[in-house]
Amino acid sequence: MRYLLSFLLCMMMSFSAFGIGVDEKPLPEPAAEARAQELMKQLRCLVCQNQSIVDSNADLAKDLRVIVRQRIIAGDTDQQVIEFMTSRYGDWVLLKPPFDGATIILWLSPFLLLLIGFVIIYQNQKRNSENLSPDPLSKDEKARLLVLLDEKENV
């Protein structure tokens, strides 16, 4: 039963592999093809912008896949392939934007919001604890309080 299940699981997982790049020839060397696939996943299809070029059926995405494979055969490093793409299409072609001046807000805003949240929680806590234990009354205040209470009883 366990073997059957794991066999079925393997079958199911292999389907996603069939879906990738069926229209072109993968590289003969599995390691190189794996590198190509990894790079393609990082590159945005410019026609249908929320897909990587692996997922897209657009002609341009197909051309870019072919180019990624060609560059790998030509001996490019991953960095060189990415540079080839960004020199033509800008950082836009990267699904993961680089960390630089223009994207600093994008990258840091989650942490900034978290920080703001902590400050708000801290201040609320501080205010609550102040409310729970107000400063003890001074001598004058105590005397006044007694006077007031007396007045109230007398009314």
Binding site: L46, V47, Q49, D59, L60, D63, L64, I67, T86, S87, R88, Y89, G90, D91, W92
Partner: protein, 175 residues
């Protein structure tokens, strides 16, 4: 304390402003990586001309401002744009055409039917030159001066786009 009461209002205002600006941006407007760079080198056959080839050298040796237009006979917006390109030609603009992923026969048919506004047309049948230029959809038009790309517009150009986006750049280059 009184300032704290305005914090939600301030957050609302900032958010409204960010959304107002953000939602008005066109998500398919991809900034060109090649602005102020020299044009990518290429050497392509000419469509329907006497000369055998059309290369980047033809563009760099031009003295004035030129336009380079990527188009295709299979591209619907190109049919919309063509009459305006004819008008630009009449106004004296020198337009170079690069037919993108198109067969020479279809390009010729397109040009004889819709009019030929181009000084010279190159055939980029495989689309590789287009990729070097950062083309992601036709039509795309580039403003070039001395072999340097000064502006890129994706999508068809009509009177309004030309006046709003092209003219300021052309005027600033001219001075």
């Amino acid at each position: 304390m009184s300032l704290n009461r305005f914090i939600p209002l301030m957050i609302f205002c900032v958010l409204s402003f960010a959304l107002y600006v953000g939602l008005n941006l066109n998500p398919s407007d991809i900034p060109s990586a090649l602005i102020n760079d020299s044009i990518p080198e290429f050497d392509l056959p000419v469509v329907g001309g006497e000369e055998a080839s059309f290369s980047s050298v033809d563009l760099t040796k031009e003295e004035g401002i030129i336009l380079v237009n990527f188009f295709a006979s299979w591209c619907v917006p190109c049919y919309v744009e063509q009459p305006f390109l004819m008008k630009l030609k009449e106004r004296g603009y020198k337009i170079y055409g690069i037919s993108y992923k198109d067969k020479a026969r279809d390009t010729n048919k397109f040009l004889s039917k819709e009019g030929n506004p181009y000084y010279k047309v190159a055939a980029d049948e495989k689309g590789r030159v287009g990729i070097d230029w950062g083309v992601y959809g036709v039509p795309e038009t580039y403003i070039i001066k001395d072999g340097i790309i000064r502006y890129k517009h994706a999508g068809p150009i009509l009177e309004m786009e030309f006046e709003d986006n092209f003219m300021p750049i052309i005027e600033s280059i001219d001075q």
